[in-house]
Symmetry: C2
Subunit: 536 residues, 2 copies
């Protein structure tokens, strides 16, 4: 590899990231994220694990069909059935990238696969050769040795050599359990580069169990790796994966430390990507998260403020603008109608027009009536609420299966609350009242009582997340619920999420619950998590 | 330094961590955190910056007086006035540790201090010698070269040599702007160890702007550093500091990579420390945060679950128990009264008895009436709510200046809400009604209207945070508000935080607001952030 090759950014937010317990996305949400990854200009979008579930297959297949100019990857085990489904899902892709893996560490071979080293090596070679034949000479075939960092080095190198001979063009070194320390991981990468670097791109995939995923990834780049597998917000199983924004901004901020030609990421899209992924998965980003946390560019102490005012370089090594933070606040009153809003949204990275723009405009005006200051965060929340409902809206228009006619709630000292709702469910008017240990609980129970006679089931709440969008007394509350059906004859264990946004947190909660109910009704389900098998 | 010296864990949660915008703690909250740091068994507690404000002085002084067996540190600039205040604050400490600093990078010298290198060197030596004289031969005197990682190396080494000659026993290398990459930071540390390692302990202090604070800290340990400056949850200015839990667990999980005799931390106290700091500061910990995130030990995918069932080692490099996660769920019904609860709380790391235990017991029983399952998270939240009010409770008993007599709220479609409160403020009965764009807003405005005639001011809300403690339909909501006085004749810019906890999120919000009001009334203020000058 030469110094003038940029590092290839392989984003696995939609595969390893989405695998985080509680982060499951529906197909339409995955497509929304893929569009943002395209705006970020990542090199590869790993869209899912086609053999894991029909939903995962559909997501990979749809993203493969729709994405132009960017490679689309799908994961597959080296096991009959998986590579075939992977190939099938990727066939429509302009740039297909099949990602095959098998475990190589003794601990995984003995306890999980119950295979010998020789059997694992044989399976790896066999399926790499199969994929090369099916996808042709131009496709990218990547091979991952699961738990590579705990694999005996001689065997690991032997496997990599064999798969490159069989047609792999990328070999990946996963630190599956987040066990590696940068110095040793750099050394391991160097060995792999020395052995097969002339025939394949060397890739790394690091987990963050000890807080070292970004550092291990960068140590590997210093040692010659030229593909990095990362996720937005560091999302992923357990403590997550190396974070795209940290790796990308480190490469950009310290170019002399890395003998590579940087990367092709539009860093100005980082903040939008972070917000979208956090919003859709319900995974908060902590204030002190590097690059994308609320405080990442905030200076508190007198000395710091003083230094920043005198010369930003004293305490800032990156500008907020470089990651797409405008830092500005606006009042909607100042906007000259739809066009002004459109311009403002463009600054925030959203390209809206027509009906979508109209809808956000109306909501922004309504919000300005109830809230003194409509901030960038408020607008972003509105657009994202719009985006998640967009897939649904296209198909349903006026014949929405659930319509909220009226609701009311009262509560007082002691905490007991009474709620009433009136709904149209599949065109049928229903209403119910209920008590609860709080107003949200009372309304949710009222919804359950109202819909059960019509549907035979009601939504069973699995998770409830609430946060304040901005700081003030009149802040909007953003609510996310995850729910499944109380009765599920098909035993699909499908869960959906619903979002709500309002200055009234009770209303936001009800909206979110009804959005979830609607998705359950429409079978627009998240990946079948119970059946999903993955890894790396 | 020899291999059999444990790494000294210098915790700066209460100094650099507390400096994070929005994380300010009151003196009694700082003392609560210091007690938990003692349970963790850190080697040094940096308790604050005595010259920054009277509150900071009081916190350092009180913690110095109360803490036995653990060193207590205070920060001071190399500038007339600061070291004197620092010495004074630390005088009652069993093991005083004065932490002096001055910037040494040209960019800081030119743009911030407007000093020459020679002037900075002279100030450093002068104040180190002063501190040594005042605190005697046994005290720990630490010197930090602010922005060391961007300081010209020859000058940096010259400064370190001079301060060690003048009496410094620890020299610290801060990566103030989070700019360093592990390989280069390790090299810099090695140079410092070679030059002054025989006369002083070498320490590092890393910021996380590029996500590399933990890795840089560990690279320095590999290069011979024997003190690490860390914070719980990686709290700190901007993207925060190296995280205590990550550094400590990496040292413990990979002992062969570090030629040191580990550390003395009771890792089983890590989860409690994380929850307490998150609760008091209102800084959430993201689900995918290493070690202490909700998902850090959660396994989702079929392959992972399968592997974990077959052999935990396939995907777990640490046990949840090693960081104090019991992972159990309990139903309070099963507890045999107060004693059963006491035992359960002991498992969770809380030692409660007498009146405190009674109070938590009553709350747990009441909670069990409104909520199907009382989880560990619920109990932890109750105990922590108890702990934060403890300082206040001791002094106020029945003559609490604010008492909630009654409240009610109603809301319905359209979002407008009406609220009413009835309070006793300094013994005087007041009541008011108000409308708002949501029930929380309506009640807060009603409180404002009720108290202003009596007090001449009302609380002005600066931040409002809300989260669900657990997942279910009947989850408790935990609310934190930050507020200051609407009229502040003394212009102290003091802010306080108030916490509320209830299955009714409206009630939790009202409780939090009134807790904040009470603190403002009692002048139990957070550090005077506007006046605080700090750094490193």
């Amino acid at each position: 590899m030469t110094a003038d090759v940029p590092v290839r950014i392989f984003d696995t937010t939609l595969r390893d990231g989405e695998q985080a317990p509680g982060a499951g996305l529906t197909v339409s949400e995955k497509i929304e994220v893929a569009r943002q990854l395209a705006r970020l200009n990542v090199d590869v979008i790993e869209a899912g694990f086609p053999a894991a579930s029909p939903g995962d297959f559909e997501a990979v297949n749809t993203i493969a069909r729709e994405t132009k100019g960017i490679a689309v990857a799908g994961l597959a085990r080296c096991k009959d059935g998986d590579p075939q489904r992977g190939v099938e899902a990727l066939l429509p892709a302009e740039k297909p990238h099949l990602h095959l893996f098998i475990a190589t560490s003794d601990i995984h071979l003995v306890h999980k696969l119950k295979m010998s080293r020789e059997q694992a090596l044989k399976a790896a070679v066999e399926w790499v050769a199969y994929a090369r034949k099916r996808l042709g000479p131009d496709a990218e075939i990547e091979f991952s040795a699961e738990d590579a960092s705990r694999t005996e080095h001689d065997f690991l190198l032997k496997v990599y050599e064999a798969v490159v001979d069989a047609g792999a063009t990328t070999v990946n070194i996963p630190d599956t359990v987040g066990y590696a320390i940068p110095a040793e991981f750099g050394e391991l990468t160097r060995k792999v580069v020395d052995r097969v670097g002339s025939g394949a791109v060397i890739s790394v995939h690091c987990h963050n169990d000890l807080g070292l995923a970004t550092a291990n990834t960068l140590a590997a780049v210093q040692a010659g790796a030229r593909q990095v597998e990362v996720t937005v917000n560091g999302l992923g199983e357990r403590a997550g994966n190396a974070s795209l924004e940290e790796v990308v901004m480190a490469l950009r901020t310290r170019p002399t430390e890395f003998k590579v030609a940087g990367h092709r990421i539009n860093t100005e899209q980082i903040s939008n990507a972070s917000r979208l992924v956090s919003y859709l998965t319900g995974f908060t980003v902590q204030p002190n998260k590097a690059i994308v946390g609320r405080n990442a560019f905030a200076h508190e102490s007198g000395i710091h403020q003083d230094g920043v005012l005198k010369n930003a370089l004293t305490y800032e090594i990156m500008t907020p603008q470089s990651v797409g933070l405008s830092g500005s606040r606006l009042s909607v009153g100042k906007l000259s109608g739809r066009r002004g809003l459109q311009g403002k949204l463009a600054q925030l990275g959203y390209d809206l027009s027509g009906e979508q723009l109209d809808k956000v405009y109306q909501q922004a005006i309504a919000l300005a009536d109830t809230k003194k200051e409509v901030t960038d965060a408020d607008l972003t929340a509105l657009v994202e609420a719009q985006a998640t409902n967009a897939g649904a809206v296209e198909e349903m228009t006026s014949d929405s299966p659930v319509k909220l006619v009226d609701w009311s709630v009262s509560s007082g000292k002691g905490g007991i609350a009474k709620g009433a709702v009136s709904l149209l469910v599949k065109g049928q008017a229903v209403e119910a009242m209920a008590e609860g240990n709080g107003p949200v609980n009372a309304l949710f129970v009222a919804v359950d009582k109202a819909v059960e006679p019509v549907l035979g089931w009601y939504p069973r709440l699995a998770e409830y997340e609430i946060r304040a969008v901005s700081g003030g007394e009149d802040a909007q509350g953003a609510v996310m619920v995850r729910a499944r059906r109380s009765v599920d004859p098909e035993d699909t264990a499908e869960t959906v999420n619903g979002h709500g946004l309002s200055t009234n947190i009770i209303e936001a909660s009800l909206e979110a619950y009804l959005a979830g109910l609607e998705k359950l009704l429409r079978h627009e389900t998240a990946s079948l998590e119970a059946r999903k098998e993955t890894l790396v």
